[in-house]
Symmetry: C2
Subunit: 363 residues, 2 copies
């Protein structure tokens, strides 16, 4: 007997604007009504914005409580997930509560996974506080934690009801975190919107000055692009792979460096190098990798792998990734700036001979 | 900006039939193709059916591996969930694998939660080995684990690709487990199909003899009813509450007895008593509770609460449940045998004055 089931299609709001964090109360009350709000954040962000968000909620009569865990990627694990859930249970949170994840990508992933699994799922609001989280990781519904065996190996897809991005909070973001976010914005341009890529390149000075209006435009356009891709392919089965430009090489760099590189930094080097690989493979137009390098360097981002990454370690890291993904090393390549190249298989990824990759990266 | 996302609607197969476990290879290959299968089961079921299922898979060229955890409801926890995931990672399972949950409700819930969260979700096959799991818990997509604070407080909704129910395995099921399953089948009749309820009552002798044909019919009809309800309301927001007939009282009994009662036993007593409450409230037709009692007794099921359950402990347990659900004690009531009573609020649950419940249950 065949049973039909039809998961509810839903829509959610992404609000971007200076000072929005102080309007969080009314925005959350409208988009994500709940009996109580569990504000999940890390020790660092709690000190910066915890009280302000609580005030914004209580100003609208909403009942919030801050639950925090120690800051740091290595704390995105099952133990903290478990502790946060137990903290909510002890505080009497029920099915009619919602989770607000306030922080960078680590908080969004871990807080999102709490929301996905607390009593089989409660609504989620994302309030990202890093550029990368604002324009990339808070959109798409990926949540999860790391294990000793690797990153994001445990998790769930759980879409937020509302994403609130306030570029004013980026004023205090350290430089490397800021440029790491820029790398993903540039990627959005490179895969789908050449004019966007060039406008970022032309406006780097204003962006480095953290001008809220320019940042608002940047975040809004990146979210549009990311959301358009994700809505076509929510569970990452096909089209969503266009977002992986730069990521095959980046994952190897990250794994070898033990995640000493920020994600966006690794993606920057990955994009420069995968453009060169694409050119060598005849998929990417000549000159593209040079232009990408220029812009990345102007954006203070790396365009080469770390010295410690040699061919042996690099291909070992790919091999490990391959095993996990089920059998093939694939590259997302662009045809030219602003256009991902479809492969002959009708897929969005390309198989590239190892010798070719070796000659581009290591010879 | 408003983002649309559209979770994929899917359909899945429920196959019921004697000897199906030996056909699992071809059925799984067709409905849930995967590179490797992680067969999650408990120590008890592993000894009974683990090898047979592995043989059925390898007969079709499928690659399976058995991962087990200690049998028992108290082992449905985050520690075993974590260990099972780590076991899969150590064994090199990747995104292209699937989970087969082989066992009773505990295995289905725990194995299902592993499938829901391993690398953000992999496909799931349920092979239930108890009557309750076959006709009820394997359908509906609920997965999860218990915490010290209560049952199923952590989990996710994750629909199986395939449910395989082989009534031949019920021959070895202990009597109380068998009648516990019957209680849920009777509930399906009581809420939506009077003829089904009476056919179970008339056929109890064949059922107790574990006749595979009769059991196949029973499971198939119960699954149809459960699936029809669930497909109308996958996330338990409204209509799905019709399945809660008997459950408000049952949850209190279970909580007070520390889960010494089997779930179906508690539901049986709950149905008899909630029918009496419904009659006293003028919602349920006179005489219904008497007929329900007769049939439950013939099915060797309890119709009264345990002696240790007094009014004080009962209402305390309800209070705790209420807090968790967010504010109201509600009863799902039937109007007559085979028909759930809608409430005036257009909901499927009823508020009943505490004094009335007290007078029916304790005076």
């Amino acid at each position: 007997m065949e049973l039909e089931h039809d998961a509810t299609a839903t829509a959610y709001e992404v609000c971007v604007g200076e000072g929005l964090i102080d309007d969080a109360g009314s925005l959350i009350a409208a988009a994500c009504p709940a009996h109580r709000y569990s504000i999940i954040t890390d020790t660092q962000v709690a000190g910066l914005y915890g009280e302000r968000l609580l005030d914004a909620l209580s100003g609208e009569g909403l009942n919030g409580m801050v639950l925090k865990f120690p800051a740091g990627e290595w704390n995105k694990n099952r133990e903290n997930w478990s502790d946060l859930i137990d903290g909510m249970l002890r505080a009497g949170f029920g099915r009619d509560s919602a989770v607000v994840a306030l922080g960078g990508g680590v908080v969004g992933d871990l807080g999102g996974f709490v929301a996905a699994t607390f009593m089989r799922g409660v609504p989620l609001v994302q309030i990202p506080t890093t550029l990368l989280a604002m324009l990339d990781s808070s959109v798409g519904g990926k949540t999860g934690v790391d294990t000793a065996a690797g990153k994001n190996l445990v998790g769930a897809f759980h879409q937020p009801r509302l994403v609130l991005a306030d570029p004013a909070v980026l004023k205090t973001l350290p430089g490397p975190q800021f440029t790491s976010g820029l790398a993903e914005a540039l990627k959005h341009g490179l895969i789908l919107d050449a004019a966007y890529f060039e406008s970022i390149a032309a406006g780097l000075e204003d962006l480095f000055a953290r001008q809220p209006d320019r940042l608002t435009d940047l975040i809004a356009r990146s979210v549009e692009i990311k959301a358009a891709v994700v809505s076509r392919d929510e569970r990452e089965s096909g089209y969503r792979k266009v977002l992986n430009f730069g990521h095959t090489v980046a994952h190897a760099q990250e794994a070898i460096s033990g995640y000493a590189w920020l994600h966006g930094e690794a993606v920057a080097a990955g994009m420069a190098l995968e453009a060169a690989i694409g050119e060598a493979a005849g998929v990417t137009e000549e000159g593209v990798s040079r232009r990408i390098q220029e812009v990345l360097e102007a954006a203070r981002l790396p365009v080469e792998l770390d010295d410690e990454v040699d061919a042996t370690r690099f291909f070992e890291a790919l091999e490990k990734d391959k095993k996990r993904a089920g059998g093939r090393v694939r590259y997302t390549l662009i045809g030219e700036i602003g256009r991902v190249a479809a492969s002959d298989e009708g897929d969005w990824t390309h198989e590239v001979p190892e010798e070719l990759v070796r000659s581009v990266l290591f010879e």
